[in-house]
């Protein structure tokens, strides 16, 4: 029992790591993506739109598998095609090192790319919902472009997008369970193993309770933020 809880505790730590690292990178990365999506530059806009389409249009579980395995296949392809021409062992070793990230890194990359796409669309919606009059008032008062964005637009965008972002963040908590498909021992993976070993569904139930409380905490924090921003409408 104690051993089971120990394993599950380790799994929980991994799940929390995936959760926080994804937010840490995806939330900021989504901002340039949103700008790219709204860019006047045709090529940039199309490129970002394609990225958003692919990320939002295919299952995250598939992206996880692709991002973990594709570089390894790519390396083998290169090695089989060109090892006759380039014989330096050092070259191939460093290339292999570059193209083979470990499971956990692959999970973080896939989650960040995927969630940044969703957050980018949320940011874009929020930015586009700010009335033009706000930009015009700021310009007439002499604010620079960056002052306008940071001090006038962004705070209003944050308030508008908070409910939609909260939904995504709650989904992220549950999505961390997908990391197991490439063998990362997060909570659900640990619970399944423990459950098989003990012939008991208790570990699965414990994992469920954990996800539930995790999301309860997340909802609580986000509701607090919404309340804090509700001083104006």
């Amino acid at each position: 029992m104690a051993k089971m809880l120990g394993i599950m505790f380790e799994g929980m730590t991994v799940s929390l790591e995936v959760f926080f690292l994804t937010l840490l990178f995806a939330l900021p990365l989504a901002l340039p993506a949103a700008f790219g999506r709204m860019s006047k530059n045709w090529a940039l806009r199309k490129l970002v739109t394609l990225y958003l389409l692919v990320m939002r249009g295919t299952p995250l579980i598939l992206q996880l598998i692709f991002i973990y395995f594709a570089p390894k296949y790519f390396f083998r392809l290169l090695f089989e095609s060109f090892s006759g021409f380039i014989e330096s062992e050092g070259f191939w070793n460093s290339l292999r090192f570059l193209l083979s990230w470990d499971r956990f890194t692959a999970v973080i990359i896939a989650f960040v790319l995927n969630y940044a796409a969703y957050f980018a669309e949320i940011y874009r919606g929020g930015i586009e919902a700010i009335p033009r009059g706000q930009y015009e008032a700021a310009k007439v008062l002499g604010f620079t472009g960056s002052q306008t964005f940071v001090r006038i637009i962004l705070p209003q965008v944050l308030k508008r997008i908070l409910p939609a972002a909260a939904n995504e963040i709650i989904t992220l908590v549950k999505d961390t369970a997908l990391a197991q498909v490439i063998g990362v021992a997060e909570l659900f993976h640990a619970a399944q193993n423990a459950s098989a070993r003990e012939f008991s569904t208790l570990p699965i139930f414990v994992a469920g309770v954990f996800y539930f409380f995790m999301n309860w905490a997340v909802s609580y924090a986000l509701t607090r933020c919404e309340k804090k921003l509700s001083y104006y409408s």
Binding site: P131, G133, Q134, E136, A137, A138, K139, V140, L141, G142, F143, Q147, R151, I152, P155, Q156, K159, Y231, Y232, S233
Partner: protein, 252 residues
Amino acid sequence: MDTSEVIKIEGLRKSFGSLAVLKDISFSVQRGEVVAVIGPSGSGKSTLLRCVNHLELVEAGSIRISDSVMVKDGVYAHADILRSACLKTGLVFQNFNLFPHFSVLRNITEAQVRVLRRKPAQAKERAMSLLEKMGLVDKAASYPCELSGGQQQRVCIARALALDPEVLFFDEPTSALDPELTGEILKVIRKLAEEKMTMVIVTHEMAFARDVADRALFMDGGRFVEEGGAAELLDNPQQERTKAFLRRFGGQ
């Protein structure tokens, strides 16, 4: 350069796609003068104000604001000059455009601190004296959404005045207000006129325009059709189009 003219505009042209909105507009405003611009909806009044405040780009013509040449024959000045030219004008919007996430006080101090680099205490002092003038001292800590339309518009006027513009533009400042609230705005503008604030006011309040403005311009189809002393133009228009417009507004 005649600096008793705060605004000097010559041969202004502006179109949206194939729609010519301003066709060869010229006029000037003397320091301390109050000019009313009247005309039917769609005649280009807002576009003219937006061009002078650098919210729209003109295609031809010249705009000089005090001693800053903003556009010369369709060629815009360097960004620094544009900025300093813009700071000499203020604009009061039809629908206020206050910053909803700032308190009334912060709406008025923010640009003073960030743009003019005034000390916060100094900016606050200026804001409070303007709020007193607007009869809104007790609303300093309120948020725009807690104010009536008339109060919001007065904050918008205070916000513009706080940067000490040489000329203040109003684009239909009472059009978004309930009729019983227009009086409080007109009173504020009248007070500013008495203090010799230079103002250009687009309005449909003919009685007010006649009363407070020194000069009136009638705009139709992207041109100034008639121009003259406010009382003369409104009481005794010479052009057929002016007559027809004023008849519709019950001014005649």
